[in-house]
């Protein structure tokens, strides 16, 4: 009897597909709530200008987060992204400012150094058979930061050529290039993760490493790719950062890994691997950026900001938990 009633209350079609959408990107509800609240609290919040600010401000973390998604999907973690960002931009600075070489070379060096350190993470994990990437990436985190400080004697490098600054600085109409880059990268990652063999293997490894191995997946190879890509993304995030502030400094990216991990987890990925989506991660990164922006607009004092950020992180995830619980009940 009650079943029949339930059936009636559920019109199919549109509503269902929106529900399906929410089901996939649960954190979206959190983002929407946050947006609504901030729109009420500040009339400056929902302006094109401010939204573009948020888009730009979220881009560095969004790039780090999408890189971070891969290790987390394999039930791993990458603590070194902030440090890799730093070493990437410092070497780029040395090449294209201090040594005055071509900006294109600088960009290549930046990305290559990022990828190389990521590769190092992957090799340490798989070849040394370290028990967990926490160790290998904690090691690299220190090593990369140390080297970044050593090679520059802790001095910042400024005055980058326009080409290098382009990504982090320019606009297409009102839209920051860095945000377009983020969207592009996310689309590529979406295709990579859902449609390529390696992408699917990443989920498989996170779901059950042993089963993946026995199904003929070269687990080590996939893990190496995963960490290399994460490093590459750190390099790319660095490139955007340099464009944004027109300078590179060796302490850049300090503790950025926490924000990146938070974005991934708020976006619905699981630390136990195998679960998580590209778009969820984007929403996670947006939640963090919107929150920071809103607190600035409201001129909330620094100490309260911290506490509020803590509460919102928990609330955002809790909203998702509630949603899941409800959808299970139906």
């Amino acid at each position: 009897m009650s079943e029949a009633v339930i059936e009636k209350e559920k019109p199919v079609g549109e509503k269902k597909s929106f529900k399906h959408f929410l089901g996939k990107f649960g954190a979206l509800i959190g983002l929407i709530i946050l947006t609504v609240v901030l729109t009420f609290l500040s009339d400056k919040f929902l302006t094109v200008n401010n939204l573009m600010n948020i888009a730009r401000q979220s881009s560095i973390n969004a790039l780090l987060a999408i890189g971070m998604l891969l290790p987390i999907l394999t039930a791993g973690i990458d603590l070194s992204v902030g440090s890799i960002l730093a070493i990437s931009i410092m070497t780029m600075g040395i090449v294209s400012v201090n040594m005055g070489m071509s900006p294109v070379l600088g960009i290549i060096v930046c990305l290559a150094v990022g990828a190389a350190f990521g590769l190092l993470n992957g090799l340490l994990l798989t070849k040394l058979r370290l028990p967990h990437p926490f160790i290998s990436t904690l090691g690299t985190m220190n090593i990369a930061r140390g080297i970044a400080l050593i090679i520059t004697a802790a001095a910042p490098i400024a005055g980058f050529p326009y080409l290098i600054q382009f990504l982090g600085r320019e606009f297409v109409g009102p839209i920051p290039v860095s945000f377009l880059l983020v969207i592009g990268v996310y689309i590529v990652f979406h295709i990579f993760l859902t449609r390529t063999q390696t992408g699917r293997y990443i989920y498989a490894i996170g779901g059950n490493k042993e089963a993946a191995h026995l199904s003929g997946i070269n687990v080590d190879r996939v893990l190496i790719i995963v960490y290399t890509i994460s490093g590459l993304m750190a390099g790319l995030a660095g490139l955007v950062m340099v464009g944004r502030v027109n300078s590179a400094f060796p302490l850049a990216g300090l503790s950025y890994e926490l924000d990146a991990i938070a974005a991934v987890i708020i976006g619905g990925a699981s630390f136990f691997g195998g679960v998580g989506t590209v778009w969820g991660t984007l929403i996670g990164a947006m939640i963090i950026a919107v929150l920071r922006n809103g607190l600035n607009l409201l001129n909330v004092s620094a100490d309260f900001q911290m506490a509020v950020i803590g509460i919102v992180i928990i609330a955002a995830v809790y909203v998702d938990v509630l949603r899941q619980r409800n959808s299970k009940k139906n």
């Binding site: 449609r195 390529t196 063999q197 059950n208 089963a211 026995l214 199904s215 003929g216 997946i217």
Partner: protein, 516 residues
């Protein structure tokens, strides 16, 4: 095993659904003290769900539960334990990191004194040793880390755990699925002792011979309804099957004989790391070769070594007379091999991924399109076909593997490997936990594979299945092949003798060790 009067546990009108899937649609069940009450039903019929409601692991949607005549609420596993219900769940529920004796006493540790005092490790170990001894196991394993044991031994630990509970009702959800003959015998003895003391057993199994030997009464479930409760003694096995699947089954072992062909697969001088002697055997086209043996005989280890999942010290493999180099499962799959693993949960499935992902996993290359992207639609279609062919239920490929019943999960693992179009199939306990109807499907499938020119090697602890389906039986004991019996010579006695290692077999390891 006489049926004692007085109902111990009574269920009335139990209903349970998961989302839109109505699994139990009003089940009545009565268990009396001292009886062995069998639940029979196809995979996904709701047997495990029903017992999980009894134990408080799931909450019922509707219905009543009576314990010794009084209505009770069982809200969680602790409630059930307090009533005196001990449970062996279908999927292993053990802590691999803890020692065996700790697993046996998990949740009700023996303490030295009052409630707040320390754990008495010594006493627990002793008690555990006793319980393991009752099951005919080496008491010494009590002190081992559980995760280091094979899956069969882990299952025995779970049984020991239930035995040490001072329970009035013991629920066993397919306890014998990964046990072989002699362990099952031990279990029979235990059950007999228990029922004599008035303890009731609720028993689930897909092995009908076992039910015949042990059961007092059977309750058959189908499509969420209770069909009938009937006594074991006075009814025919075929009748049970008919009630269970809704139609009669022609033969339980649809063995087809083929013309034996040339040698298709050969293992030469293969030595698994840690074992004493190398192994040699070969398989010809047109035959199904079985490997029998006791739990821990090393059959799985051998299969894993062949498949490149574990390191081997040395050994050569030949397919069609050509040597194949296999260093990893990837190599093995490339060479045309498939390995249906024994533990579906830990080695077979991505539990939190949908069925199509699971089924396409081992052969994703096949689904790549021109632009090198994975053709998701292709995987879906193919998965859908297998799900229908193997009668996986529910046949929804978007369902996560975790949500399927144990037997249906097993079918998904089989589907994954069929999808690879391999040439050499190694089945490790392929029918573990699947119902009679589905078993027949798997056997037919093996026939079909052989017919289509594939090589089939089947490791099984189910002796009737080995006898019923294999053209040749290899028997393993302590990592070595102790017998190679053609179909007409393979009898239960000869296999058991070779498996338990008679006196002369026991001497061999020493000779092998010094000679190697």
């Amino acid at each position: 095993m006489a049926v004692h009067a007085g109902s111990l546990l009574e269920l009335k009108g139990i209903k349970k659904s998961f989302n839109q899937n109505h699994v139990l649609k009003g089940i009545d069940l009565e268990v009396t003290a001292g009886e062995v009450h069998v639940l029979l039903g196809e995979n996904g019929a709701g047997k495990s769900t029903l017992i999980k409601i009894m134990t408080g692991a799931y909450q019922k949607d509707a219905g009543e539960v009576y314990w010794e005549g009084k209505q009770v609420q069982v809200n969680n596993p602790v409630d059930a334990m307090n009533l005196g219900i001990a449970t062996i769940y279908q999927e292993l529920n053990v802590i691999p990191e803890l020692k065996v004796y700790e697993n046996i006493f998990l949740g009700r540790e023996i303490k030295k004194g009052g409630k707040m005092s320390m754990i008495d490790h010594k006493k627990m170990k002793k008690e555990a040793e006793r319980a393991l001894g009752m099951l005919g196991q080496d008491p010494k394993i009590a002190d081992q880390i559980l995760g280091e044991l094979g899956i069969g031994q882990q299952q025995l630990v779970e049984i020991a755990k239930a035995l040490t509970l001072d329970a009035k009702l013991i629920i066993m959800d397919e306890p014998t699925a990964s046990l072989s003959g002699s362990e099952v015998e031990q279990l029979y003895d235990c059950v007999e002792q228990l029922t004599e003391r008035g303890i009731a057993i609720v028993f689930i199994s897909h092995r009908l011979d076992e039910i015949r030997r042990m059961g007092d009464r059977i309750t058959v479930l189908r499509d969420g309804y209770k069909i009938e409760t009937l006594p074991v003694k006075t009814t025919e096995t075929d009748h049970w099957i008919e009630l269970m699947v809704g139609r009669s089954l022609d033969e339980k072992y649809p063995k087809k004989s083929f013309e034996p062909g040339r040698e298709g697969f050969r293992v030469e001088n293969l030595k698994v790391a840690g074992t004493e002697a190398p192994v040699d055997f070969s398989i010809h086209y047109g035959e199904i070769v079985g490997i029998s043996g006791l739990v821990g005989a090393g059959r799985t280890e051998l299969a894993r070594a062949i498949f490149g999942a574990d390191k081997r010290e040395h050994g050569n493999l030949f397919i069609d007379g050509k040597q194949v180099k296999i260093k990893s499962p990837k190599d093995a799959i490339k060479a045309g091999m498939a390995f249906i693993t024994e533990d579906r949960k830990s080695e077979g499935l991505l539990l939190d991924q949908p069925l199509d992902f699971n089924i396409g996993l081992a052969n994703m290359k096949k689904f790549k399109n021109k632009s090198n992207l994975v053709n998701l639609k292709g995987i879906r279609d193919e998965a859908d076909n297998y799900v229908k062919e193997l009668k996986v239920r529910p046949s929804d490929i978007d369902l996560h593997a975790r949500k399927l019943s144990g037997g249906n999960q097993q079918k998904v693992v089989i589907a994954k490997w069929l999808c690879t179009n391999a040439k050499v199939f190694i089945f490790d306990e392929p029918t573990r936990g699947i119902d009679v109807g589905a078993k027949v499907e798997v056997y037919r499938l093996m026939n079909q594979l052989v017919d289509n020119g594939a090589i089939v090697l089947m490791i099984s602890s189910d002796l009737p299945e080995i006898l019923g389906m294999c053209d040749r039986v290899l028997v393993m004991s302590e990592g070595r092949i102790t017998a190679d019996l053609p179909r007409n010579e393979a009898t239960q006695e000869r296999i058991m003798k070779a498996a338990t290692g008679t006196a002369d077999a026991a001497e061999k390891p020493l000779i092998a060790a010094t000679g190697g």
